[in-house]
Symmetry: C2
Subunit: 163 residues, 2 copies
């Protein structure tokens, strides 16, 4: 298997611990500082978050209490997502809320951590805590798995281009 | 006891059902349509929500997905509060998120209902669902009881002035 093929088959590990959580784990072939930059620089986020769809970053205030808002433009229309930063600890941890315009009020709290694996790779773990079990299960059934994997495949490409 | 004294001694009933909820119940001496107006017209909200403190309503988009943001100015400084409307059903129900700037990410989902008691009075019930038990308990310990009672006493006065 070539490196390209390995990368193409890398999948995020998605689990649903407890009643109200979704946990996503994924290893990236890039050092932690580079992953941090790709995940917190709006110009770079715009290159992967939308999985190939145009992403307009309307707001991105990377500080405690700051707001973020992304609008993804696809053939099927526009989808807005937004939230607020609760904690920023470079280069290893971001806590933020997440809400999709289609379901206002169904807010989740996301805790994202980056672990330096000391071999040039980085482990991402994101835990999302929902207000209700129904919100959590709805998210799992929304096609999030393919969406997450498409975004992270695009992020792989951004990370490689930064190398 | 005079009507004025009865009004002055009226307290909200605040309980903490389950692990993550706060429930507030309060009866107002005004018909439901009037209570609805006082609770959803920004000019009227500004007269009671801040309990006598200046309240700047920076944003108030009373529709599904709309945002609201209030800043209360007191001798102790400024306090911002904000959220998003999830459901609006006049004159009886509003569902919205609630967040205090001091604890970004500690979002609660508030469901407010107004019940017409058919005798010129209205029962308000607000249930707040927090992400964690710690958030709920922190809210209970924050002095919310006196804050809620002060706001509702001011709302009594606004309702009387609308009569």
């Amino acid at each position: 298997m070539t490196t390209m093929e390995q990368r193409a088959t890398m999948k995020a590990k998605i689990t649903a611990p407890g009643d109200r959580e979704v946990r996503i784990e994924r290893i990236f072939n890039a050092p932690r500082d580079r992953v941090w930059r790709a995940m917190t620089d709006p110009k770079l986020i715009a290159q992967w978050w939308g999985r190939g769809n145009k992403l307009v970053i309307e707001r991105y205030e990377l500080e405690r209490g700051g707001h973020w808002r992304f609008v993804e433009h696809s053939d099927h229309g526009e989808h807005g997502f937004e939230g607020r930063f609760a904690e920023i600890t470079p280069p290893e941890r971001v806590v933020q809320t997440f809400e999709w315009d289609g379901l206002p009020g169904h807010t989740a709290l996301e805790t994202m951590t980056l672990e330096d694996l000391s071999d040039g790779r980085t482990r991402l773990v994101t835990t999302s805590l929902f207000l209700t079990r129904e919100d959590r299960d709805g998210m799992l059934q929304s096609g999030m798995e393919s969406g997450v994997n498409e975004s992270y495949a695009a992020l792989d490409r951004v990370l490689a281009s930064m190398g």
